[in-house]
Symmetry: C2
Subunit: 407 residues, 2 copies
Amino acid sequence: MQIRLGGVTAAKGFQAASAAAEIKYKGRDDMAMVYSKEPCVVAGTFTKNLYKAAPVVWCKQIVESGKPVHAIVANSGVANACTGGEGLEYCRGTAEKASELLGIPADSVLLGSTGVIGKQMPMDKLEKGVELLAASLGDTDELATAAARAIMTTDTKEKQIAVEIEIDGKPVTIGGMAKGSGMIHPDMCTMLAFITTDAVISQAVLQKALSDVVDNTYNMISVDRDTSTNDTCVVIANGLAGNAEIPAEGEDYETFKEALFEVNKYLAMAIAGDGEGCTCLFECRVEGADTLETAKTVAKSVVCSNLTKTAVAGHDANWGRILCAAGYSGAQFDPDKLSLSFESVAGQIQIAENGKGVEYSEEKATEILSQEYVCAVINLNMGDEISSAWGCDLTHAYIEINADYRS
Amino acid sequence: MQIRLGGVTAAKGFQAASAAAEIKYKGRDDMAMVYSKEPCVVAGTFTKNLYKAAPVVWCKQIVESGKPVHAIVANSGVANACTGGEGLEYCRGTAEKASELLGIPADSVLLGSTGVIGKQMPMDKLEKGVELLAASLGDTDELATAAARAIMTTDTKEKQIAVEIEIDGKPVTIGGMAKGSGMIHPDMCTMLAFITTDAVISQAVLQKALSDVVDNTYNMISVDRDTSTNDTCVVIANGLAGNAEIPAEGEDYETFKEALFEVNKYLAMAIAGDGEGCTCLFECRVEGADTLETAKTVAKSVVCSNLTKTAVAGHDANWGRILCAAGYSGAQFDPDKLSLSFESVAGQIQIAENGKGVEYSEEKATEILSQEYVCAVINLNMGDEISSAWGCDLTHAYIEINADYRS
């Protein structure tokens, strides 16, 4: 597997565009489009929140219908969630505008929105935005990057990646972009992630691979334990790589799934590491668990703990809070067997063994905890299962961003 | 039911004391004692965290043995959690010291600790503290207040209350004190709550009443979703009121349980309203639920949401976050039937109806949200069940307190 430059336009036959529609933000792009002339099969995972944003309802209908997809239109600034019947009308209007301009069916247009919940959409601006997008499509890396930037809200960095694998002797590319910074605690999938691939693959196999991957990537990150109304991850595949169709199991399936995993893991970690107001990506890796479920439950509980997150913000090896978060996670393990260490580019340090503290240098621990990527390694010493979860520290900037987000 | 001045010494036959043992803090009292010459029956509820602090293990053994209790000794500064076998030795040593000075069995002494996890206890200071405590016991309100202050950590106010009821023609008093500010998300019971009563009641009936009450008080508050290693709530009853023994059901039981509920609800709300760094007590009252469980689940999800808590800190009626938190709570309801309003001493304002926003004055909403006690009222319009949960806003001060708590 090779990492390539670029994002959603890296795979053959995909174009992208971005535009400034002034839906909420001024002086920056706030709409993005992805387009494939070839029809694509689509797989998707969506939020489990009872309040599903209108574009989530729209996309679910398309994915469930099994119809081919040609385009994705996304906007930032307004989430089109809790907007009642009007919300789906905006979706229909946006898709019909794209349909008319690109000469494709309206129900081949996926939609994504992110921003304030409850505000109604300015339909005239949306339509104008679609016109600008359709007129500026292209397949360069620059356009992919601009599209990844257009869907940002409180994100500070665009998030995109592309990888190349070989299947059936043919190069196959998977590229994607994502956004997410606050209201990140995916329960099925995260905010917005759009993945493109030129692989030849059926919808059923693509959905199977995506569902597997999402459970171990987006569903293992948390910024603030708030599961969004808009969480959406879709993969569209246009088949231009010309490989023999990827089967539901076997070597080619595993190769594809691993590449899809790497793309989504990268994007998920990028979202966690760009959590609102954060200064570091905080990973908890749980080793030695008796079941995978135990490893996942403990890891997620630790990265979700406000007290752990504030300790990381203070570069403070306050390990009692980590054991406490493991202890209330709901997973069953022997608390007296647990050991804990911290790792980062500054080194590795043992902190606790057999459920209680050991002698260590606070100075060294603080140095390790002062890096941009910090990992708490828990060994439960009860088996061989391993899992990681990713989060971030909790800082003053999170409060600043969220105590006054709407204004 | 009448509210009385005072706390743990309000009921007949109870004495209290506080002392400065310099376990961690300097220049303030950090140990407290409650004592009854008459033997007491005891009921208790404790944390479900796998890491149970040594005093929790100690108290559970006593409560389960059914033996009579004479005293409670508590300290702040060090939690005696994750301290291994040494932890229980500190408990034994403390109880034996109290036993020797007060002439009571060591296993009639309940213990509570709160503070930093993982640090070993300074045993000499603890023993010195018990000596000071035993020498200064008395039954005044001032001593009760001093005891309530001695168990505070990041709390800014002491928390105590006493009520008087009549049972079998006799006045019965229930008084209590509690502490809690951070690591508050009780799963069975909160940090430390010590309740005294002179009621004549069996251990079984006392435990039944306490368990009922705890589910609707401490288990419905959250400051930061971190379930502590030390959560303890114990009630001790010395029988000096001389009433006919309270039966397991009927009018006298209900009168007693209601009074116990009011005492614990007051203490639970006082803990939530004194959450680390908070500026207001934030209640979510869910009405019109089809089941009590649904009402509780939705209410708790809303007061636990970091995004809702930061919006309250900013006095911002960002209602989409509240609907979002209700929607991901896991409870089932019809999202299109929900209505939402805000209430405080500044008035009441309707914000959403049928799952979407209505026209309202942002200025008026901000005024209502700028008070010390703010309530979000959700009506699910699906039944008659009602429940409240209590939390607080999330502010810069929470970060300040927790990014550097240990130093």
